[in-house]
């Protein structure tokens, strides 16, 4: 298991460097001069030169790359061009909001998706199976901002159960009220996905010899399903939950906008609108970090779920 983890960690570090390099390239392949883009068409040459100097764009490309990499590792991601505050501070200020939303959504998504998937699989080609399949396909068809707006119309505007603007931590009840709709939005879309993965993983596992053996031995059906089969089906599910994080982060951007909730989503949209180039670079670094950390966590979960991983 130790060797496995060391290998995965090494891969994570390589990924981190590769994606940081990608971020560096993406920001620089943009046609035109970033300083010109930031300042607009009317800017004069001195202002552009000054900004280029401030951004370090006047230095050779390899030097910019080294500065960027060492800065990224040390947590020095430059200063926001709009507020003048360090990028890392701006990001850390709102990060908990996004993490909390993502975490609650993941719990909802797996908590709803896995049981539904199991239910569909053990009722294969019967009504529960058809219902969950259609339901999950509908869920998968929702662009996250559309479902968010519909939830907002139904539960905030029509029924008035939840506040229109989310992001309140005054009391536990206010917190619950403000996180519930956005988390439900992300969680339901995720559940649609997880249901399908769980269903097909379960269908595969249920055909295995040991399931037949267990049935022949007279092991209770519920024990076979939940302990024997699901335990083995969990491996692909864990992979998908880990991979899904990329989608979840994208969806949370849209959800945060609709519910007017503080977080990385609102920060990145603000940075895009104001052409805050340093902020964008920093945000891509933080997204990369999150993805790499989650990949490592996914690998750790493998080791917990699947004892065979320890051997490899």
């Amino acid at each position: 298991m130790g060797a496995f983890l060391v290998k995965r960690m090494l891969f994570a570090v390589v990924t981190l460097f590769a994606v940081l390099t990608l971020v560096f390239i993406v920001i620089r392949i943009v046609p035109g001069d970033p300083a010109q883009v930031i300042l607009g068409d009317q800017a004069d040459a001195t202002a552009i030169a000054a900004l280029q100097k401030r951004l370090g764009l006047d230095r050779p490309i390899w030097e910019q790359y080294v500065t960027f990499l060492t800065g990224a590792i040390r947590g020095d991601w430059g200063v926001s061009l709009v507020t003048g505050r360090p990028v890392i501070r701006e990001i850390l200020d709102v990060l908990p909001w996004t993490l909390e939303l993502t975490a609650v959504s993941m719990v909802l998504g797996t908590g709803i998706g896995v049981p539904l998937g199991v239910w569909a699989a053990i009722n294969r080609n019967r009504m529960p199976d058809y219902l969950t399949r259609i339901g999950s396909l509908i869920g998968l068809s929702f662009p996250p901002f559309v479902s968010a707006i519909l939830l907002l119309i139904i539960f905030s505007l029509a029924l008035r159960w939840f506040p229109v603007i989310s992001g309140n931590r005054a009391t536990p009840w206010a917190w619950f009220q403000s996180i519930m709709l956005p988390a439900l939005n992300l969680g339901l879309i995720m559940a649609a996905y997880i249901t399908r993965v769980t269903r097909s993983a379960m269908l595969e596992v249920m055909q295995e010899d040991y399931v037949r053996t267990a049935r022949a031995k007279g092991v209770p059906w519920s024990v076979i399903v939940w302990r024997h089969a699901l335990r083995n089906a969990l491996i692909p599910i864990v992979t998908i939950v880990g991979l899904y994080l990329g989608i979840l982060i994208g969806n949370s951007v849209l959800t945060e906008i609709v519910f007017n909730r503080p977080g990385l989503g609102k920060l990145i949209i603000g940075a895009l609108n104001q052409r805050d180039y340093m902020m964008l670079q920093g945000m891509m670094v933080i997204y990369t970090l999150i993805v790499v950390v989650v990949n490592v966590l996914t690998d750790l979960t493998y080791a917990l779920v699947d004892p065979r991983v320890k051997l490899s």
């Binding site: 990608l22 993406v26 509908i138 707006i149 229109v164 849209l254 895009l272 964008l280």
Partner: protein, 296 residues
Amino acid sequence: MSLSVHNALPATPPRWPWLHNTIRAFNANKTSWLGLVIFVMVTLLAVLAPWIAPHDPLEQNVFAKLKEPFENYYLGTDYYGRDIFSRLLYGAQISLVIGIASTVLALVIGSIIGILAGWYGGRFDIIIMQTMDMLLAFPSLILGLILVAMLGPSMTNIILAIALTSIPSFARIARAPTISVKQREFIDAGRALGFSDTRLMVGHILPNIFPEILVMGSMWLANAIRTEASLAFIGLGVKPPIPTWGGMIREGFENILDSYWLVLSPSIAILVVVFGLNILGDGLRDAIDPKLKGER
């Protein structure tokens, strides 16, 4: 979930294997025909928009702002007094053009990468696929919106950005079946006859893995349409006043407190198209997935 190659390919490949396989896949699950019908109908509405739209989608009627349906304004008017129904029809054009162009682009580039990686294997394969995995790990919407924001929200740039985010998935899908098909006898036979690598890949690998790529294509078309709408909702779509579904929802959302129905029709339009494409892809996938074959 995994898409691998057919277990039972016919001993002598039919004359048009890809067409044969495609039709067989459609017939195996009838719901895929329903998805195809939805998609074809939406495409027809989009193509025929200039003839069936009752109004010019850009024409502003200051006397009919934010109206509920009346006369031949079947779905009412928006904040500028423009006909929502006509804007929906023209918006379908943008969604479909961007969706189809970006998916075809990603499908072609991704399949080439995947087939090459699967065919040559070894270190080349490892490097290519690790790169693809890294791209896959990065949140695609974030990558897409940064690319569009940096390149500028033009139709070409949106197509490029969406295509770029889906290339890795196509590469993965094309690679797996390539690896198993290349070990089959007819490839050895081709080699013995002195066929070039290119001829084997284009003439013999591609037709055999085509159904799987096609299924992926319909799923990713749904995804591309969703992404385009999301970008437009954020404000990174084709520039207004050109109607896009995401843009219409964005404008409607600004007036959501007093006229919430503005967001409903474009929302339903997106849902119907994406759902249609999803059941199309879903049905096809069941049909070609060997693990599920023969069990229905």
